[in-house]
Symmetry: C2
Subunit: 198 residues, 2 copies
């Protein structure tokens, strides 16, 4: 019972954090601002999440669960058209994309608390993507790569485009550029949803 | 004369910073450590570079000059085989790649001092790459993209792969994965240097 209440409170904190991120961005998302939003003292919040990094990692982990369909069969969440929709969706939520990108940047520095999360996440994402690509295309994608060759590239394109887009959203139409990459993977076929003109 | 001495000193500081980065990584590269290396007081160093961010931006800017051939004709530095060599080279210098990646991550946060550098850099890199791709392939690359479509993707793949490689160099062979992307751009042709087996 106490455990259920604690998990409920934890979920409430994560939802509040996402709101604060959307409103105030990465730097404005302090433990104090989140505590205020959920009606906790900062001490009370620290009981659930001991650092800002731990809180943000939990938010990103929760987002991954949602984005890849949670209960869906492993691999299902990464079909190419779903990835394109995910990039469309990300283009409408710069706050969480900024949080992901800023924390990923920090995580490659020495002894960073988010390093293990990202290292594990990428291993999992590459494996799940490869499995999903194999389901969708077999041993070779139409563009010629194997699922294992395509998975780290797909991941790199999604992450790399986010930086260019966050820095200059007018210059980089992230969803359109991402679809150009899908067209390459498909060997020139624009895919079910058609290729944007630009 | 004073100006020449100041520029010489500046170049010396940048070389020392690259050494400190290689030895101590992003977090260990403090203004104090750099000042000590060049035999300046921290006050003396601050006269040339007022913040750690300003110093690191100058280092990254200098690296870009070297990497893209400095005096070479605009666009020359980005031919695909040269890019592949650049990625090979980057895989041998994790310190500077880590510095680039960490600072890029920070730069997307509010009012960060490196934001303008990266925003300007990416606009320039995309334009130069597109020009270079047009020189190399004309209006369409063999894989079907125009130079302007391929440029932001090339940039995204380079940046995105660096994060995966820094986090888990055993799992991600950055130069090999990058060449898979070049193969896609070339429409399945492995290119002059041949395609690695893995």
């Amino acid at each position: 019972m106490a455990r259920a209440r604690s998990e409920e409170r934890r979920a409430e904190i994560l939802r509040a954090t996402i709101e604060v991120i959307a409103e105030r961005g990465y730097r404005g998302t302090t433990l104090g601002a989140v505590a205020e939003r959920v009606g906790l003292t900062q001490q009370g919040l620290l009981h659930h999440f001991p650092t800002k990094e731990a809180l943000l990692v939990a938010v990103l982990d929760e987002r991954d669960q949602w984005d890849t369909g949670g209960g869906a069969r492993r691999g299902e969440g990464w079909r190419l058209e779903l990835l394109a929709s995910l990039v469309d969706y990300n283009a409408m939520r710069p706050g969480i994309v900024q949080t992901f990108s800023a924390l990923l940047g920090e995580s490659v520095t020495e002894d960073h608390p988010a390093r293990e999360f990202f290292t594990h996440r990428y291993g999992q994402v590459r494996a799940d993507m490869a499995e999903s690509l194999r389901d969708e295309f077999g041993e070779r994608l139409p563009g010629g790569l194997t699922p294992e060759q395509a998975a780290p590239l797909l991941t790199a394109v999604m992450d790399g485009l986010q930086y260019q887009w966050l820095l200059d959203p007018e210059a980089v139409d992230m969803p359109v550029v991402f679809r150009h990459f899908l067209t390459l993977l498909r060997g020139g076929e624009p895919g079910p949803a058609g290729l944007s003109a630009s």
